[in-house]
Each structure stands twice: as C-alpha cells, then as structure tokens.
C-alpha cells in the first residue's frame, strides 16, 4: 500500500503564475521605471568623471629613431626620460587616480597567465617551487627565480612624476594593490632573488631587500587583466586640480611595447561609485528602460487590438475545429 501524502500524489501546495496581460505590461513598466532613472544617474555620474588620457609611447621616441623604435628601447645607452605636458580640461577633485594603460597587451594569453607559481609567492620555504613558470623558471645556473614566470618577468617599469608649475604633485603609491593580496597572497618574508638576471630583460627589477608583500607594483601587475586593453593603478594624487592647469609629467619610458605594437597611455582620472569614465552602463540602462516602456505600450496596444478571454474553452483546438484534425 503506497503511502499517501500530498508529496507522493504530487499535490503539494503550489503557486501557478500565469503571464496575464496585466503582468506582462506591469513587468515591462516596472523595469522601465527602474532602469531609466538608474541609467540617467549613471550617465550623470560618468559625466562627472574627468579623465585625461595621454598616449606617450610614440611621442617619447626621439625624432631620429621613429623608424626604429625597437633599437631605441633596447639600447640601454639612450636616455628613456621624456617630458609630457597635460592640460586639465575640467576641475578634478582629489583623489586623482593615476593609471597606466596598455593596449593590445594580452595579459590573458594562455602562455602568460599560466606562467606563475602562487605557492612560491606566498611562502619563502617554497622558493624552489617553480613549476609552470617556464620559460622564466630558473637562472642559467639552475637557481630558482623568485618571483618566477613570465608575468613577474614582464613587470611594467615606466615611472611618472608630476609637477604643476613649480609645485610637485606627489604620487601616493601606497595601497594601490588589494589588501587581501598583500596579506595572504604575497609573503611578508619572501624576497625577490635572481630576478631579471637572465639574458633578456622583460621589464622592471625588484629591490631584493623589500619583501614581495610590499612590492605593490608587482602585486598590481600580477593581478592579470581580463582584457587585452587594460589599465593598472599607478598611484593617487591627493591634490585638487583646476581646469586649465598645466601638468608636466616626467616619465621614464622604459617598458618595451614596440615589439608587438602595443600602446602605452598615461591616465589621470577621478572616480565615482561606478568606477571610471564609461557611459556605456548609463546608456545601456536608459536604452533598456526605454525599450521596456516601449514594449509595455506595445503590449498594451496589442492586448487592446487583439484581446483574448483567458481560459475560454472555445480556444481549445478541438473546439475550434470540431471536425477534428
């Protein structure tokens, strides 16, 4: 004898929602009501963000070497210093974020993202753990490289300093990386060793006396970017900038992007709750909201033109064609 319960008889109390016209129109209306204001607010917020972008990789190449940029960047004897002047277009409230932007740099390339060893970064005892770090695994004499791997090897090493007139604008480079990374991912007692000693230098060097947990540029760099065009935080400037202020940037153009056609840009930007200056979200919200309003009206109209009584058994196929199929 089977046990009888609402469950076994598949008769559990249940809610059976039906998409009635009322529901359809209200849902679209509701989405529209939510989305359009949110979109407008985001658009306004994005508009408030002031962003100054300066591409310097081409400009910083001496005029006589524009045909052979690679030779320029690979020649250690040529000075890489370069000066850029930026004009502030709108008032910028502090903090002002200083980013560098790399274009066409596949930090998400399979060969690249795999080339790291997180165990080694975290624990001094695991310095020899260099698996997956090829081809930057060990030095020629077999000593482990700390931090090993292509990611660390290709550390970005352009530097920037800013002046407004005679006023030096200090760039605060503290706290640019994630706290969680500093505390748990990069060891306090792990020091760089044998780093950037190979035949081919990929980028920046690290001070062997500073533990990895304090090498914030490295930590930022090691958070690999999701997309081939990305920004990374360089530092913050805690000074308000006024419209038409002229900022002089002294930079050392060390990082080689010339061998793969990458672009380097310097970005100064304020921030809002939405992040940087990107009005895509606002537009998306406004458009979707608008579309929903349109759909709400369209459906209202449709329901009005072609009404159908819900649950009318005359609509059942065998009632519509009594002769049968």
């Amino acid at each position: 004898m089977p046990k009888y319960s609402k469950f076994t008889q598949q008769e559990l109390p249940a809610c059976k929602p039906i998409l009635t016209p009322k529901w359809v129109v209200s849902v679209f209306f509701l989405v529209g009501i939510i989305f359009v204001p949110v979109g407008v607010v985001s658009l306004l917020a994005a508009r408030d963000v002031v962003e100054i972008v300066d591409r310097y990789d081409d400009a910083c190449v001496p005029a006589n070497m524009t045909d052979n940029k690679l030779a320029y960047i690979q020649n250690p004897n040529i000075s890489k210093d370069c000066t850029r002047t930026l004009t502030i277009t709108e008032d910028m409230k502090q903090p002002i974020f200083v980013y560098y932007q790399l274009d066409n740099f596949y930090q998400n390339h399979r060969r690249y993202v795999k080339s790291r060893n997180d165990g080694q970064l975290r624990d001094a005892a695991k310095a020899n753990q260099t698996s997956a770090c090829e081809p930057e695994k060990t030095t020629a004499d077999g000593k482990p490289i700390v931090p090993c791997g292509l990611i660390a090897w290709s550390l970005f090493n352009d530097t920037y300093s800013f002046t407004r007139g005679n006023e030096n604008l200090t760039v605060d480079k503290k706290d640019i990386s994630w706290k969680s990374d500093r505390e748990h991912k990069f060891g306090k007692n792990v020091y760089p060793s044998n780093f950037q000693n190979g035949l081919l230098k990929g980028g920046g060097t690290l001070d062997p006396a500073i533990p990895l947990s304090e090498q914030e540029d490295l930590i930022v760099w090691m958070r690999t970017a999701a997309l081939p065009t990305f920004r990374k935080l360089y530092g913050r400037i805690y000074v308000d900038l006024k419209k038409n202020d002229t900022i002089t940037v002294r930079l050392s153009n060390n990082y080689n992007t010339y061998n793969f056609g990458g672009k380097k840009k310097l970005v100064l930007s304020t921030a809002t709750w939405l992040g940087g200056k990107n009005d895509f979200l606002g537009f998306a919200y406004v458009i979707v909201g608008g579309l929903c309003f349109f759909l709400a009206f369209a459906f209202t109209l449709l329901y009005f033109i072609k009404p159908r009584k819900l649950g009318d058994h005359n609509y059942l196929s065998w009632n519509r064609h009594p002769a049968g199929r």
Binding site: K16, H109, R122, R308
Partner: protein
C-alpha cells in the same frame, strides 16, 4: 489444414495408458476422454495450443502455421518453436542434440564432459569483484561518455592541458559515480532475492533417502520429491506421484500465467518401479526457452525406450496442487531451467525522445566543431601575423633564454602543430557543449517520475493490493506520445472471471437475479456442509420452478441444469474454508480448463444442482439435497468445426440422454425447430438480447436416446476411438451423427465481467486520439460482443468483417474493404459527420495476409478504421500486427496484456504493459510497466505520460541550452585572448557548472513540475495530443532555445565587457561576474518556464544560485589560486550589481517577449487549459458552491 498432423509433443495415447487398469474397451475410452484435458469452446487460443488432443488438431495446426512464420524483429519469443523441435516430431532426437540424464545418478550425469550447472540462480549483474570493471564497461557503452573520457585523457597531455588533471576528470567521475551507486543498489536488491531463492529447501534423494537440501545444491539427475503446494525447484521429469494412475496437477501461474491446473503424468514404466531402485537414462533435448515443448525418451534399464513429452515434465516455478506428493528427476537446473531462460529481465528499449536527442546532439557537435575550427584558424592567423615577434613578446615568449648558450624554443612546435593543438584544446575547453550531465539527469528524473507513478494512489489496485510497477526505467516519456494501444481482451479488458447472468429456459427469460440470494446453495455430505466457492445470484422464479414446478417448462428447466452440470470437464475439488476453518464446512472448488464451464457449474450449484464428484465413469450430483449418480457413457469434446460439445449420460432412471451445449449458430442447425417453434423463436430473441449485452451465450439442447440409437452410436464410437488413422475426423463424424434433432432447452448468458471502468477508459483513450485495437484469442462473436460492452464498438459504426478461409477470398475481402473505405472517405468529405469504421478480422485471415504480402492493404484498411478487432489470433500474430503499425508509421505503439500469449506483442510494442492479474507473471516479466487494471491506462498515459513527456522534453532542451550558453560565453572570451583558450571563469567553475551549479534545479523541475493538474488532464483527454504532436520537443523548439542561448551568452559576455573595457578589471573578478551572471540567467530562464511553484522548486532554483555563490566564494578563498578574494572585492562595487541586473534583464527580455506573445496570441491547448485551471482554482476559493455547477455542466 484439415489433415491432423502428428503433434510434436503427443500426449501419451490415453487408451494405451489406461489399458491395464480398466475393464471394457468402452469404459476405457470414455474414461480416458474424461481424464484428458480438453478444449471447450470458450477456451482461449492459447489453451488450444497447449493441449494435445487430436480433436483440436486443426486449430492447433492453424496456430502453428501462424507461429512458424517468422515475424521480422521478433527474436525472443517463448512460444516460438525451434526448427529442431518441429523436426523432432518426425525423427528421433539425435545424440549430439541431446542431454543425457542418468536417473538417480547425479555423479554419472554430471561427469565430464557434461558439466551441467547446479540449481542456483543468479540474476545479479555484478559481483563485488567485477562490479567496477563491468559497470564501467556498461556505462561506457554510451558514446557520450567515451567522448568525455577521450577528452579527459587528451587533457592529460601536457601540450593540451586545459584543465588541471583533477578538474578535467571530475565531471565524468561524478556522473559515473552517481550511476554506479544507483546500479549497485539495484543489483544488491537482486542479490538479496537470489539468496532467498537459492536457500529454499527441497527434498532430494541422497543415498536412497530423501533429505532436505538447499535448492542451489540440486544437480541434474537427482530425484526430487515435492509435496502439495510446494514450488518446484527445477525442471524435472515426473517419475511417480501419490496418485495411482500417475497424475499430478500443477499450477503454472508463475510460468505462463495461466491460473488453471494442468495435468502431468508419470509414465507407468517409472511408476511401477520403486523410487529407490529407479535407474535409467533420460535422453532429452538441450535446454531451450519453449515452455510448451519437451522432447525426450526414457530408457529404463532392461526395457525399451519410452518417449516423453510436455505432459511428463514439471517446470521450475510451478506449484504442485491437489497431489499429495510427486517425485521427479531433475533434468534442467539453475540457469538452464525454462523459467530462467525465459526470464530475460526487463527489455531494454530506448525512448523516442532519447533517440531524437541524437539528432540535436549531432547538431551541437557540428556547432562545437565549427567553434573549434574557427578558434584554431584565428589562432593560426594570429600566430602567422605575429610570427616575427613571438620570440620575445612578453606574453608569448617563444624562446627560452634560461640557458644562455643555447636559446631554445619553449613549448613551440610550429604554427601547424600549434593550430592543431588549439583545435584540440578548444574541444576540451568547449566540451560541455555536449551536455555531460544530461544522461545522468535523465536517469535520475526517470527514477523520480517512476517513484511518483508507483506511489500514485489512482493506480493502486485495491482489490489485489498491487501497485503500479515500473520495470523499464528508460521509456517513461514515451507514455506521453502513444498513438496506438493494442490490448488483449481476456484478463485485460475483462476480469477473466466468468459469471452466469441470464438463463432462457423453454422460452422464458430468467434474468431477474436482483432479488435472488447471492449465497451458494450448500449441500451436506457425511455431516460436512459443502458450499460452492463462488456464489451466484439466482432468479427466485426459476428457483421456485425448479423446486416445485410441474409441466413441460419445469422439466425443461431441470434438464437445462442437468446439462450444465454434466456437459463439461470440470473437476470438483473440496478445499478447507479459509475464512472459517474450524466449522465443519468445506468449499467446493470447480477446477477446469474453461472459465465458462466453471461459471456454468457454479450456477448450477446455486440452483440446487451441485456437482460433488466426477470420475471418468460417473458423476455424482447433489440435486436439492439428494445425491444422484449419473453414468457418463460418452463424451464428444468441443472442436472448432462443430462448435459444440455433448455427453451421453445414463440417468438414474435408466434412460440414456444426450446433453449438448454449443454456440448458437452451430446449435440451431441441429435443433429440431418443428418441435417447439415458439420456444425457438423466444430463445432466439433472448440470445440476441444477451449478446447485445455483451454476454457470452450458449445454447443448450438434449435428446433422449433409444436403446437402438445408443447401441449404434456405441459401436461407431468404439470403432472411431480405436482407429489408428484419422481418429479425430472419425470421432467428429460420430458426434455429428448423434447430435441432431435436439430439443431446445434454452440458452445461458455468461458475463465475462469487464474490469471496472473499461468502457470509460476506452472512451477517454479515444478522445485522447489514441486508437485502441483489441487482439484476442476469442472467437469472433465473443470478441464483437465484448467490443460492444466495452464501448469499443458502437451501433453507429460500420463493421468490416474479414474472416476468410482461403487466400483468394481473403484478398477479395481486403479489396472490398479498401473500396468501401475509399467510398466512405469520399462521402465523408462532403458531410462533416464521418461514418466510423470498425475492422473485425480473424487469425486465419491474418495468416493468409501475412503469408501473401497483403500487409500493405491490411494496413491501409486498418488505419482508416477507428477500431480494429482481431480475433482468434495467435501470440506471434499479435506481435505481427504491432509490427505492421510500427514498420509503416512513426507512431508510438503500446501493447497491454496479461498472459503469456501477450508477451510477444508486449516486447514488440514501443511500450509494453503487463496486467498483473489472474494470469500470473509472464506478461509482467516481459513488460516495461505493470499494473493491476486496464483503466489505470488512463491516468498512466493521460496524466503521468503527459507529465513525463512534457517534463523530459523541456529538461533535454534546457540542458542543451544551458550548456550552450556557457560555452558561448567562454567562446566570446576566447576571441579576446589571442585565441588561446584562456578562461576568465575559473576552471573549477567550468567543470562544476554543468554538474553542480545548474543541474539540480532542472532535475527537480523535471520531476515535480506539472503543466496541468490531474483533474484537467482527465477532463480534457484531447490535451494528450500535445505529446502525439511532439509539441514539447522538436527541432523548432531546439532552434529557439539555441537562439536564446546565443543571445543570452552575448548579453552575459558583452555587457560586462563593454562596461569594463579599458578598466583595471582583473580576469578573476570578471570571471566571477560571468559565472554568477550565467548561472543566474539560466536559472531565471528555468524559473520563468516553471509552471507550478512549490517549496521544493523554490528551494532548488534559488538554492542553486546561492550554492553557486558559495562555491565561487569558497574557490576565491583559496590563497594559492590566482583569483584569490576577487569575488569579495568585486561584489563590493556598485558596478558589479548594476551589471548583473542589466545582464539578467537584457538576457531575459527576448524570452519574456516571446513567451508573452506565444501565450497570449498563439496559445496552445495546454496554455488555455492552464488558464481555465487557474480561474477554476480562484473559483474554488471564492465561490465553492458555484464551482459545483460548473463542474456539473462540464
């Protein structure tokens, strides 16, 4: 056809058998005839096939003709006779085809090279040791799993390693593990029941004494002693029984499902030897599946070989009845026994839906191949574009400078190889395009659906306490697409319990049984009260007339009942009253081959004519308390030519009377109509009335024989029954000669009670667009009358009857039928009212049709008819008819039956259903589903079938969709990584996505969701059409789902992509956003399509989203993974939530719009019915009393 062929398994000639023990030749032959099981006219075809009496030779032959014709596709049919067997009737069993059994000498029998198995049975598939390899082997029969295995193996190649080794194996291991656990549990249950079976004990002769021994230890050649009501442990040749004549009765219900007793004989030669001294050699055929055939000889030492046949063997699983003990020699043991050979377990069928998924799987495989090709081509282009830079660019670094002396290429095998690797890596990365969890989900869902079908109280048979059984677990959803139902009649539509309902005696109709007492008439014998086991309601007027009436009518009534009680082959058996065993009361149980005769004898008992004893020579009848002895002087068995049966009885008053009963058309030919024209007319009228009620009618007649007539008959009978050639024909002639000028006594109406609710069920099925075909072994008249009573046939229908006796006439009737169908069809185009057609066709015609390849014509006629009734069909013909439809249409077929004769069609049909009724287990064993009553077919198909189909169809589509969505998201990202198969989504989320993140809700929904309530589905059977029209799963829906999937993947990928372009976003954070977005999106998609929300559905869907979040958080809490803490970080930004909301809304809008349009402007029946249900429910709440009215109106 008329030539009585020598039968393959002849019953030992009755005359020879009884020669030592009886006196005159006359009584000898009479006795043997009575002792012999005979076929009466109401018996089913299958009884014909099992009896060996020569008088049934012709019908038997016709069965064999049908049976011997190979039906394509029917490979394992228990009733099929092998060629060697048929040949066996002509020549001896050859030694190389034989098995040698030395009686009572197991050691010699089993000596090499014989080595027969012992009697243990093993139905389990695995042992502890073989479980893992065998189970894996079986699971890898699924091509998909091989595919996933190959990919997992490829992934282990260093150059192709997309996932970490553990992650790559995890999903496959998970699904294999779940399936293995399920299989192990099932096998463990089988193991337990095997153990019980093997440990039963039987009494086996060891060193001259019978000792108890477990069943499993019985060996071929041993003597086994079985007592009454015991089950036989193995197949054994009967050597002696408690009965001096060597008779033993067995019940074969477990074997072929027939509930009546069968007689088995021990050979006189073995009977006479004391059991301990028995020795000899049995030469028998090799084990085979044929339960109706056995061919052997026994050679007792120093004597000649005696042949043995079916009637000398008792098979495992049968029960010994009414015989104190029986001793047999084990000849087939364990897995060689016929019951085990027939126990092939549940057939493995594949559901239509699953077959269809192959098509979509191929489409997806092509899409997968395209994606992979695209990625690898783009990768090749990218590589050749950047070929100069590859050595040094920071994110590729082809060259390894760690050894300054020798700069080597690192992980670089040339552009071509790189492209090939990319392709293979892409396949590994995108592998879930073929949904790995689909198969295990389907299996789990079917288990869940089966659970609910089994638990359904509407399919629980209260009477027999029998639940619904799901034997095949892979065709649940086929129940929702049935177009043809092939039904057996006896025991399926009817209860196979005959009940005497009406009597027409001497022109008077006595059908008023309402006032009569339903208590059987009790008689007293030696102080013991005997009561018939089954009580029959009586008509008080008829009762009174029998008791005290005078005149012609009363005399006729008395003779009428005398005929009923004498003219049969029923054996009364006295059994204890189980209800009240202490009282001095016994029950009389009438055992016989024909349920009709049983009903007649029970009826006679109720009217005061109680059959108390029957031997071969006389019958003792208690007539209203006085015991009378009637001598049986002769008996003419039923045969299909005469269609009647007669006995010649020496009455106590020294008169000799001939009592005849038979089918009306045959009886009216031999009745003297001049004698009592009024009575004849009245009886004819009554007969018509009875058969319109669906009753099985018999006409009763008698004649008093003069001395000369009797003697003349006696001589003819004697001569005929001792004739060596053409005995059957001669006996028929003798019978026909005496059965003439009969006086009509009356007619009886027996009801083969329809099961409850059969007419309603058939009506519902018909409304649901299911064609019901009835295939029965019954004769045409009975079949038609039952057809009427179960509303299969109606008076408005035009019947096309095809019963031909030759090829030509058969072809002609088919052609006529076709022209008639065409004519009616052309008429019906004008008027809306179509003339319903019914085709009635009999087995003989079918033989000709199948022989002469007129199948196409038959098919043409049959599908034009609303109803098809096939009568007098043999088991294999049933399968042939099912095959006729299966081969020519793509429609789903269902066969339902209860007896061994239905096995072939049950296995042939797409869905086979066994009725676990009176006829035992054979049909159930062969079936996919088993249930107690025919009417359960309605909830099974209309409710559960509909649900199963709709749920499963949606689940499969959804599985394709959700995996494709995920793969497309991965794909869009790959286009932004230099085509290098990187994922932002962590590899753990990738592998868990299809087995954990999104698997549970779809399984739960597929088990629990109901598009419509039971009440609605039963009220509008037409809703079943949704399944027949494949509305829940088709290519169009698949394409819609795929378009949706592409759109949603675009929304999931590009909204965050555009928002985070040129930002500091890291891949782990973006990956987490994508993971959550896609999981939420596909769950919302599911939620939007769920029709009934109960708490379990809520828990599964929302719980799954929460579980995903928790999983992502756990993964991001592992510091050595690159994505450490990303989820916490990204969840702290407003942009994350804004994007999530935008993704969900943008992703869902097209689906929502399409749904709103479809449901409102293009509603299907299910949608309308849902709305009706909804308004009904709100009515129920607000106006409970109004609701009653609407119900009544509807």
């Amino acid at each position: 056809m008329d030539v009585p062929a020598k039968l393959p398994d002849p019953v030992p000639s009755p005359i020879l058998r009884h020669s030592p023990s009886s006196g005159s030749a006359m009584s000898r032959s009479l006795r043997s005839v009575v002792d012999m099981p005979s076929v009466t006219f109401a018996a089913d075809m299958r009884s014909d096939s099992t009896r060996g009496a020569e008088s049934t030779a012709s019908s038997f032959e016709s069965f064999r003709r049908a049976g011997s014709r190979p039906v394509p596709g029917v490979a394992r049919l228990p009733t099929r006779r092998s060629a060697s067997e048929r040949a066996g009737s002509q020549r001896d069993l050859r030694d190389e085809d034989a098995r040698f059994v030395y009686i009572n000498d197991a050691a010699r029998t089993n000596a090499p090279p014989a080595r027969f198995p012992d009697n243990s049975v093993r139905t389990t598939k695995y042992s502890v040791l073989t479980f893992i390899p065998r189970n894996l082997y079986e699971q890898f029969h699924r091509v998909a799993y091989v595919y996933f295995l190959i990919l997992a193996a490829l992934n282990q190649v260093p150059q192709l390693g997309v996932f970490s080794p553990v992650a790559s194996v995890l999903p496959l291991a998970f699904v294999l593990g779940v399936t293995a656990v399920k299989d192990a549990y099932e096998d463990w249950r089988r193991h337990r029941s095997d153990k019980n079976e093997n440990n039963r004990t039987a009494s086996v002769m060891v060193d001259g004494v019978f000792r108890p021994k477990p069943w499993s230890d019985i060996h071929v050649g041993e003597l086994v002693r079985v007592v009454a009501n015991e089950t036989l442990p193995c197949d054994m040749v009967l050597v002696s029984t408690s009965d001096p004549t060597g008779v033993a009765y067995v019940q074969t219900i477990n074997l072929d499902g027939e509930s009546n007793l069968k007689t088995r004989y021990a050979k006189q030669e073995t009977m006479t030897t004391p059991t301990e001294a028995l020795a000899g050699l049995i030469k028998c055929e090799k084990p085979n599946r044929n339960i109706y055939g056995f061919l052997a000889t026994v050679d007792l030492d120093g004597r000649r070989a005696v042949s043995l046949g079916t009637s000398n063997i008792m098979l495992r699983g049968c029960e010994l009845k009414n015989t104190a003990w029986a001793i047999g020699v084990a000849v087939y043991t364990g897995r060689d026994t016929k019951v085990m050979l027939n126990n092939s377990g549940a057939p493995s069928k594949r559901s239509r839906l699953e077959t269809h998924t192959n098509r979509e799987t191929i489409v997806l495989a092509i899409v997968l191949a395209l994606l992979c090709t695209l990625v690898s081509l783009l990768a090749g282009i990218w590589l050749s574009d950047h070929s100069d830079e590859l050595g040094v660019i920071p994110y590729f670094r082809k060259k390894d400078f760690s050894d300054p002396n020798e700069v080597e290429n690192y992980k670089w095998y040339g552009t071509g190889a790189q492209v090939a690797f990319t392709f293979m890596m892409a396949v590994i990365q995108f592998q879930v395009m073929i949904p790995i969890a689909l198969f295990i989900s389907m299996e789990l869902v079917r288990v869940g659906q089966a659970y609910f079908m089994v638990q359904d109280k509407h399919m629980f048979d209260e009477k027999r306490q029998a639940r619904f059984q799901c034997r095949a677990l892979n065709i649940n959803e086929d129940l929702g697409q049935i177009k043809y139902v092939f039904s057996d009649k006896t025991g399926t539509l009817t209860e196979n319990r005959m009940e005497f309902r009406c009597a027409s005696v001497h022109g008077g109709d006595f059908s008023e049984t309402d006032g009569g007492e339903a208590d059987g008439h009790a008689v007293t014998e030696d102080g013991v009260v005997l009561r018939p086991k089954t009580a029959v309601k009586t008509d008080p007027k008829l009762m009174a007339m029998l008791k005290d009436g005078t005149g012609a009518k009363a005399d006729a009534a008395r003779d009428f009942f005398l005929t009923l009680v004498t003219c049969n082959t029923i054996v009364p058996i006295i059994v204890d009253d189980t209800e009240d065993p202490a009282a001095a009361r016994r029950l009389v149980e009438y055992q016989g081959e024909s349920p009709d005769e049983q009903a007649l004898v029970y009826a006679a008992a109720a009217y005061g004519y109680t059959l108390v004893e029957r031997t071969s020579g006389h019958i003792i009848i208690d007539v209203f308390g006085t015991r009378q002895r009637f001598d049986v002087l002769g008996l003419h068995e039923f045969d299909s030519d005469r269609k009647r049966m007669s006995v010649i009885i020496g009455c106590p008053d020294k008169t000799v009377k001939l009592f005849v009963k038979g089918a009306d058309n045959s009886m009216f030919g031999v009745i003297d109509k001049t004698m009592n024209p009024d009575v004849v007319r009245a009886t004819e009228k009554h007969l018509h009335a009875y058969s319109s009620l669906g009753l099985r009618t018999l006409v009763i007649g008698m004649r008093e024989l003069s001395q000369e007539e009797f003697q003349e008959w006696q001589m003819a009978y004697e001569k005929a029954s001792t004739a060596l050639l053409g005995r059957g024909g001669l006996l028929r002639g003798v019978a026909a000669n005496i059965e003439r000028n009969l006086r009509l006594l009356g007619a009886s109406g027996i009801e083969d009670k329809l099961q409850d609710g059969v007419p309603e069920a058939i009506e519902k099925l018909r409304q649901a667009g299911i064609k019901v075909w009835v295939l029965t072994g019954d004769k045409q008249e009975t079949a038609i009358s039952i057809g009427f009573s179960c509303k299969l046939l109606t008076r408005e229908m035009t019947q096309i009857v095809i019963n031909s006796n030759s090829r030509d006439s058969c072809r002609k009737s088919l052609d006529d039928a076709i022209s008639m169908v065409n004519k009616l069809r052309s008429l019906s185009t004008d008027s809306q009212a179509r003339v319903p057609l019914a085709l009635v066709i009999d087995g003989n015609s079918l033989v000709y049709i199948f022989d002469t390849d007129h199948e196409d014509k038959l098919f043409e006629v049959a599908i034009a008819c609303d109803v098809v009734l096939c009568c007098r069909v043999a088991p294999l013909q049933k399968a042939g008819i099912v095959d006729l439809i299966k081969k020519r249409t793509s429609d789903m077929t269902l066969a339902i039956g209860d007896g061994a004769n239905d096995v072939s069609m049950i296995q042939m049909a797409d869905v086979g259903i066994g009725i676990s009724g009176q006829e035992g287990r054979q049909a159930v064993m062969a079936s996919d589903f088993a249930m107690g009553q025919f009417r359960f077919l309605v909830p099974l198909l209309l409710v559960h079938g509909h649900w199963n189909y709709q749920r499963m169809g949606y689940m499969i589509l959804y599985n394709f969709y959700r995996n494709a969505t995920f793969v497309f998201v991965l794909f869009w990202y790959v286009l932004h990584t230099g085509f290098t198969l990187t994922t932002a989504i962590t590899e753990w989320s990738s592998v868990l996505y299809s087995v954990i993140y999104t698997a549970v809700p779809t399984i739960v929904v597929a088990i629990l969701d109901k598009d419509l309530g039971r009440r609605t589905l039963l009220k509008y059977p037409q809703l079943y059409g949704a399944g027949q029209r494949e509305e829940s799963y088709n290519l169009r829906l698949f394409i819609f789902f795929m378009i949706d999937s592409i759109w949603q993947s675009l929304a999931v990928f590009f909204i965050p992509y555009l928002a985070y372009r040129k930002s500091t976003i890291d891949s782990a954070s973006l990956g987490d956003l994508w993971t959550l977005a896609v999981v939420i999106l596909v769950n919302i998609h599911l939620a939007m399509d769920v029709i009934r929300w109960n708490w379990i559905t809520h828990a599964a869907i929302w719980g799954s989203i929460v579980a995903t979040l928790i999983c992502v958080m756990v993964i991001d809490s592992i510091p050595i993974l690159p994505g450490f803490w990303a989820i916490y970080k990204v969840m702290g930004t407003g942009l994350f939530w804004a994007l999530l909301l935008a993704v969900i809304v943008v992703g869902m809008v097209p689906h929502f719009v399409a749904k709103a349009i479809r449901e409102h402007f293009l509603p299907n029946d299910i949608q309308i019915a849902r709305e009706m249900e909804k308004s009904q429910d709100s009515h129920d709440v607000t106006h409970p009393e109004v609701q009653m009215n609407t119900m009544a109106r509807a």
